[in-house]
């Protein structure tokens, strides 16, 4: 009889393992590639006049050959806040929980080397995707996700060529490396007291180098009269990776129940896993106007999250745990507008505004990531000399309060509320 139940228990365990990774959202995408661009809401596709353009439009560096060798590096401090207001049947009306306060600091390092006055070769290292969530030990959603850390590193090389005084193009290749760790509890009904009980903690962690290749391209056209137009494309990519799952038993106080569970779960060692994650493409078009004092730039982009249709997680040695879950996200659009005012010879002031649509269906929101449409307001300040510049920007992201509308596939319904302050900083050195 217990053996007959084994399949069901394994099904439970499989769902427990797979569910967290289903809920990555637009918050999974990062645009934190420089203090200056952040102050202008990332509207660099049609501007492209600092090294952050290696993310936004690789053609931009073709117009920077007169700057010599440039090195730009920096980070962004992110402190996401999120609250769930529960609804019945689970976690119940009146339930409220806040995410553990954490600070993340994705980095960016760009190096631009002019080959001649028309050609520049550049190298980039930054985080185009990332996610981090953590909940308290008594959180009722710990069976879905207790802690999640995901970071994608982009090691890119690109070249930009100025076809004429007004027009340039750029292309690049990206070597993407992903690191991921997901932790959650496994809950079962204890047959002795018929109470939902933590029986194990499951941790899935990537091992080795899980990587994929991607490419990017862009054009930048200075149309005259201070106007410029830019367009760029970053390809989608899929990381097929491997790792290990680690199951740690939590004693229930009932020895034979614990013993029974040890026949279901591989508590005695790590078991290999394989996973496949599709990342979206990203295209942008932008229009900008500049004079000596002002830069005004607008931009429209779409992230192709519809590529994220499903998430397979395979246990080669424990196929009973393997599962494929449907996601079916949507492409997500974003509007940006940014302004820079060059107030003096050394000081610049910036403002930015961003509306970023979520790709995540409302029902898919979970403790791993509960995303909503985002609005960001930015303010930035820059100081520069001929060979040095320091840029800083403060950004406040407000995420739309959003309900799962009773459709959560994890059975965790409620209304999610979130926001995040970000502090972007970068230093640029010119040689």
């Amino acid at each position: 009889m217990i053996a007959k139940n084994r399949g069901r228990v394994l099904l439970v365990a499989t769902m427990v393992l797979v569910a967290p990774a289903l809920c990555w959202g637009s918050g999974f995408a990062l645009f934190e590639v420089g203090g200056r661009q952040a102050g202008m809401a990332g509207t660099m596709v049609a501007v492209g006049d600092d090294l952050s353009t290696l993310f936004w439009n690789p053609a931009g560096t073709a117009f920077q050959t007169d700057q010599g060798i440039q090195l730009m590096f920096g980070t962004t401090l992110i402190q996401p806040e999120q609250t769930i207001y529960g609804s019945s049947p689970y976690p119940g009306e009146g339930y409220q929980a806040d995410q553990v306060s954490q600070t993340f600091f994705p980095v960016h390092v760009f190096l631009g080397i002019p080959v001649n006055d028309r050609l520049e070769v550049s190298f980039a290292f930054y985080n185009p995707f990332g996610l981090g969530t953590e909940w308290e030990d008594d959180f009722l959603g710990n069976f879905i996700s207790k802690k999640a850390d995901l970071m994608v590193f982009d090691l890119g090389v690109s070249m930009a060529y100025q076809l004429s005084e007004d027009f340039a193009f750029g292309i690049g290749v990206d070597y993407m490396v992903a690191e991921i760790e997901l932790t959650r509890n496994i809950g079962l009904i204890n047959p002795y007291d018929q109470r939902l009980t933590n029986v194990a903690e499951a941790s899935l962690k990537g091992e080795g180098v899980n990587s994929a290749w991607a490419w990017n391209a862009g054009i930048l056209w200075k149309m005259g009269g201070g106007f410029s137009f830019g367009a760029s494309y970053r390809s989608e990519f899929t990381i097929n990776g491997g790792g290990k799952a680690d199951f740690t038993q939590i004693p229930t106080g009932y020895a034979d129940f614990d013993g029974l569970l040890s026949t279901f779960f591989p508590f005695d060692g790590k078991v290999p896993i394989e996973a496949s994650i599709a990342f979206p493409d990203f295209w942008n078009v932008g229009l900008a106007w500049q004079n000596e004092k002002w830069t005004i730039s607008g931009q429209y982009g779409v992230m192709g999250w519809s590529a994220y249709e499903s998430l397979p997680i395979i246990f080669p040695e424990n196929p009973e745990f393997s599962s494929i879950r449907e996601e079916n996200w949507d492409d997500a659009a974003q509007w940006r507008i940014g302004v820079e005012f060059r107030a003096s010879q050394h000081w610049d002031l910036r403002l930015g505004y961003l509306e970023d649509e979520t790709p995540q269906p409302a029902a898919g929101m979970s403790p791993l990531l509960a995303d909503g449409d985002r609005v960001s307001n930015m303010v930035g300040l820059g100081y520069h000399t001929d060979r040095f510049r320091f840029d800083i920007a403060y950004e406040k992201v407000e995420i739309d309060t959003r309900s799962t509308e009773g459709q959560s596939p994890d059975g965790f319904d409620g209304t999610w509320e979130g926001q995040s302050p970000l502090l972007h900083m970068s230093i640029t050195l010119k040689f």
Binding site: I2, N5, Y90, I144, P191, Q194, Y254
Partner: protein, 463 residues
């Protein structure tokens, strides 16, 4: 002009449209059997009564009063406990004296009129008298505890209470004996469909005629899909010999046959195994000994019979305009996996012991299962009546412990899934009526004729 006429028509239509219906739980009465009483682990006990689906529904709907015929721990039964899980699960009644009723002085009809063991016929015609208990007679213990006065039946009490809302979940016991005895016999272990249909129509007709309550009817789940029938395989895996199909006194079992939990103790003694005596397949009409094997054809026969009873329920509901909560489909979907109850990443299932829905008797839900039923019923009522009854907080239910911190008793019992004693107690509660065909309990001779008109005045009505 046309526009004016159109506008006026629209206004008239809007005015004529019924307002969003609401349900009134000021006086909610639940008619039914053990499933309504909150019977769990072969016991009727206050802890589970407070977690019965009608009690949960009443709380969620904000009913100010919902009185029940409480029985102290460990209930009557008494309740089963799991004494060990490995190497073989052992379930047996707790070794305590049965509980006693303690809310029997409540001066009005109980809101919960669910009576364990009651068939449809019993709901209409059977009375109960507390003096029976006082004289030490336990034959009709649940009727005596719920009905008390020796005069009125459950149906009469329900009508007399003049409820504002009423649920009726009756009929499970009109077929349950076929599963418990592993022998479907129309008229012996199953109430004939035509007989049931007539009674059901009359009962609902009486409720419709004599009350103004909003009524929800609940149909009958497949008892063949409960863990009592599905937990044991028709074979055993013997090291070195491989898979060996069990032997019954009617021949070897095959895939598709079911062995009830009542067979667990026998298999542990060697019954059905090579060299051992065969398992009893069917009910022994002479001795009353139950069978423990449901052949595939018998399962089909029982399910077909339940389909027939449910068709009768549908027909009556349609005639009187009452909605039917299809709990049969709900349980069937849970068993098939088409519906997976999922709460915060934790799934429940119909599996025995580990599934979280059924109690230790393998037939009745435990508190999580009853809460699940209440939650589904609330969604049904909200949809049917445009009501806004809040759903059940399953987090509270899931993390609440059982009625006691049981600990693990010394495993001196037989190494089997359900001890023979436990099975016998369960079987005794729901026996086939071998001396009656069809199973009919005649109303007592001195009981007044059952008429709708008289019923309202007999029982004391709540203020």
């Amino acid at each position: 002009m046309k526009k004016t006429i159109f506008a006026l028509s629209l206004v008239a239509l809007l005015a004529a449209a019924p307002a969003v219906a609401q349900v009134d739980f000021t006086n909610y009465v639940a008619l039914g059997d053990s499933m309504t009483a909150g019977f769990a682990s072969a016991s009727m006990m206050d802890w589970y009564q407070d977690r019965s689906y009608p009690a949960v529904l009443a709380r969620q709907a904000g009913a100010s009063t919902f009185e029940q015929p409480y029985i102290s721990e460990p209930g009557i039964g008494p309740i089963y406990e799991l004494v060990s899980l490995a190497p073989q699960p052992v379930i047996q009644p707790v070794g305590l004296a049965p509980g006693m009723p303690y809310n029997y002085e409540y001066p009005y009809p109980y809101n919960n009129l669910g009576i364990p063991t009651a068939t449809l016929y019993d709901m209409i015609f059977q009375t109960g008298d507390l003096t029976n208990l006082e004289q030490g007679n336990f034959d009709t213990v649940f009727f005596d505890i719920v009905l008390r006065n020796g005069i009125n039946t459950a149906l009469e009490f329900a009508i007399g209470a003049q409820p504002t809302f009423l649920t009726v979940w009756i009929g499970s016991n009109d077929v349950l004996s076929a599963v418990l005895a592993a022998t479907p016999i129309d008229g012996i272990t199953m109430t004939p469909v035509d007989f049931f249909a007539g009674l059901y129509n009359n009962a609902v007709g009486a409720l419709s005629t004599n009350t103004t309550a909003d009524i929800v009817l609940i149909n009958i789940p497949y008892a063949t899909q409960t863990p009592f029938a599905t937990s044991l395989d028709p074979f055993v895996d013997i090291p070195g010999a491989g898979r060996v199909y069990l032997m019954a006194d009617t021949g070897p079992l095959t895939d598709g046959d079911l062995v009830t939990l009542g067979g667990g103790a026998l298999i542990a003694q060697g019954y059905g195994l090579p060299g051992g005596p065969p398992l009893p397949d069917n009910l022994n009409i002479i001795t009353g000994e139950p069978g423990v094997v449901l052949r595939e054809a018998e399962v089909e026969m029982i399910n077909d019979h339940i389909d027939g009873l449910n068709a009768a329920i549908d027909q009556t509901a349609s005639a009187f305009g009452y909605p039917v909560f299809d709990i049969n489909a709900l349980f069937a979907d849970i068993v098939s996996g088409e519906f997976v109850p999922l709460y915060g990443g934790v799934t429940l299932s119909a599996d025995f012991l580990l599934g979280g829905i059924f109690s230790y008797d393998g037939i009745h839900p435990q508190r999580i299962g009853y809460a699940l039923i209440a939650d589904e019923l609330i969604q049904f009522i909200n949809a049917e009546y445009g009501a806004e009854i809040p759903r059940v907080d399953m987090a509270e239910v899931l993390f609440e412990g059982d009625w006691q911190s049981p600990g693990v008793s010394p495993a001196k019992a037989k190494q089997t899934i359900m001890s023979a004693e436990a099975f016998q107690r369960l079987y005794d509660l729901f026996p086939p009526k071998l001396d009656q065909a069809p199973r009919i309990r005649r109303p007592s001779a001195d009981r007044p004729e059952f008429t709708g008109r008289d019923m309202r005045v007999k029982p004391a009505t709540r203020p």
